[in-house]
Symmetry: C2
Subunit: 365 residues, 2 copies
């Protein structure tokens, strides 16, 4: 059955450009987004150089403007060196990203005073997303609560974390969170199948009990976010494999599978892949934007056929249900499976561009 | 896969009460509606007595108010005797029904002057529905056009008719129309299977070419309407079988089957079973109203298991896809397959009642 759904929003992707276009670039990454049904992606700032100031924001925006196939936003990273200078850039960004734990790239805030300063300076109306694990989530929530500001917790993966966020929500704190499809559908038990290097990801794949806790606390999960984080096969299979999975092209089929199984309703899915990210990140309406999905189509995931440049997936060989057939973005058909049919540069920055459909050009008489 | 859809609206049903409760009554008819996913039905006036004046309107409203399980509206019939007296009753009705062709019951307007008088007197803001076949459609459209008023053509069944309506729409006339599932899914060729008496229906089952023309002109069809018109098996199998099919419980599965086959999109379906009837008949929003449908469920139609009192169907033995699992009406769960779980009288008249959810009663301390 074909269903028309709103364009999906992924609030957490890594486009790798500028600086690491051997892994992904704005064209290949947003092609993967369209193939996965996403018409808007919010990109993380751990590029090379990291997006932390005006020159690096302009460099990233320059790449995105020229190559993006879908709409996008850019997070600015919270560093020790931009405590005062990040906030004035807020209007041009999708939000502030704070890394309290170590992951791929050099951005990490270790200092509680720096975390507090960033949260205090950043405008209340713009989101702050935090990569924090375990007890550091509690610390981040505590600081945000003291400053009476909202906070979005990225890629929650463990039982203690989701329960902590549940408790914070029950207290009435303005905390939201996202969970990745890979933490919903994979656990440590999948590591032998995926391979030791390829299964490196932050937060790490967790226990069955963690996975179960995420499903049991679905009501606490505001968004599904892929944390699409491509690295090459050579990097993943080499020494010191970098953490990260590609995820844009498998997210919707994985979650539609759960809808087929009755573990999720279509409304649960659309709330977390459209409504809530749109609200939490104050995204403008993408007018005349929709995706057509064959919700029944069965297909086997093969990394080599994916649009992400990294051409591998932790879900290799899995049989999934649901394929995106067509994507219309702002009145233009931009994807007809399996082809992107729009030129790089069609995507617009949600912070600075208009998302109205292109005006129909008058026919010259 | 379970989908949550808006409550469906059927703008054309026959509840048979008052007067012919051996065929159907407001309880059994609206139970069939809920089982079919309809939360609002508009009932035709060819009851016994026909609904044509204040006493007959009050008698019908009395039955509906006591027994209806879903929301409803009542059409008033246009007769030769209520040219002046029908219009003042408009606010209490769903619209005016004009029979220009003979069908079940005594209501029929043969006189062009009477048709014109009814159309001229009836308020512009309230719909007029006409049962007209063939060239009588052209006449009705012509009169309405001259009076610059809107007109809704009931159960269009033939190629010449749909093309005529298409032409009227292309001229910019305020004409809308409905088609029944039985004319979309059955033709004369099905008569031997259904049986001669049981296949009696007005308009009659048509040729394959008529059926094809309806599908080819889907864009011209504003609504799918069941024309649910139950008669007992004994009546249908006896001498002089009355025309009419029950249809409330098979409409959605038949049309979902077409969605599965790709002949229809889900949007096509929802436009014609919710959006357009709501707009054309100016129906108020049924707040917190939705149906849950297992769009994949396969089942075989058996008249004896239907909720319509007549307990037969022209689709007997057909394998259909799609079952209504739950219906929520104005904040209350009223149907959990296969049971209606609300008391008769829950339904409200869309012309006179409030369709807001019932206020939550405070818990006594």
């Amino acid at each position: 059955m074909l269903l028309t759904l709103p364009g999906l929003i992924d609030p957490h992707v890594h486009m790798r450009e500028p600086g690491q276009t051997h892994k992904e670039d704005w064209r290949s990454g947003t092609a993967a987004a369209l193939a996965g049904g996403f018409t808007c992606v919010l990109a993380m700032p751990n590029t090379r150089p990291p997006l932390v100031d005006i020159p690096s924001l302009e460099a990233a925006e320059d790449c995105a403007r020229k190559k993006a196939l879908c709409d996008y936003g850019l997070f600015i990273g919270a560093g020790a060196d931009n405590l005062e200078t990040a906030a004035p850039l807020a209007p041009k960004t999708a939000g502030l990203k704070m890394y309290l734990d170590r992951t791929f790239g050099p951005l990490q805030l270790k200092n509680k005073a720096a975390i507090t300063a960033h949260m205090a300076n950043w405008p209340a109306a713009k989101p702050i997303v935090v990569h924090a694990e375990g007890r550091k989530i509690a610390m981040a929530i505590q600081i945000a609560a003291r400053l009476k500001r909202s906070l979005h917790i990225a890629h929650v993966s463990r039982k203690e974390e989701i329960l902590l966020i549940k408790a914070a929500k029950e207290k009435g704190l303005a905390v939201t969170c996202e969970v990745t499809p890979h933490h919903l559908f994979l656990t440590k038990e999948d590591i032998p199948r995926i391979g030791p290097g390829r299964s490196e990801v932050r937060p790490r794949l967790a226990e069955k009990s963690d996975q179960a806790a995420l499903w049991e606390n679905l009501a606490v999960i505001d968004c599904f976010a892929t944390d699409h984080a491509p690295h090459t096969k050579a990097e993943k299979d080499g020494e010191d494999p970098p953490p990260g999975f590609p995820g844009l092209e498998t997210a919707l089929p994985l979650l539609l599978g759960a809808v087929h199984e009755g573990r999720l309703t279509m409304e649960d899915l659309l709330q977390r892949m459209h409504d809530n990210p749109k609200r939490i990140f104050s995204l403008p309406e993408q007018l005349v934007t929709m995706i057509q999905v064959d919700v029944d189509a069965r297909w086997t995931v093969r990394g080599e056929y994916l649009k992400t440049q990294c051409a591998w997936t932790p879900f290799e060989g899995m049989s999934l249900r649901g394929r995106v057939i067509q994507v219309d973005l702002r009145g233009t058909t931009v994807y007809e499976a399996p082809d992107v049919i729009v030129e790089p540069g069609f995507g617009r920055n949600i912070s600075t561009g208009s998302l109205a459909p292109d005006p129909v050009k008058p026919i010259p008489m």
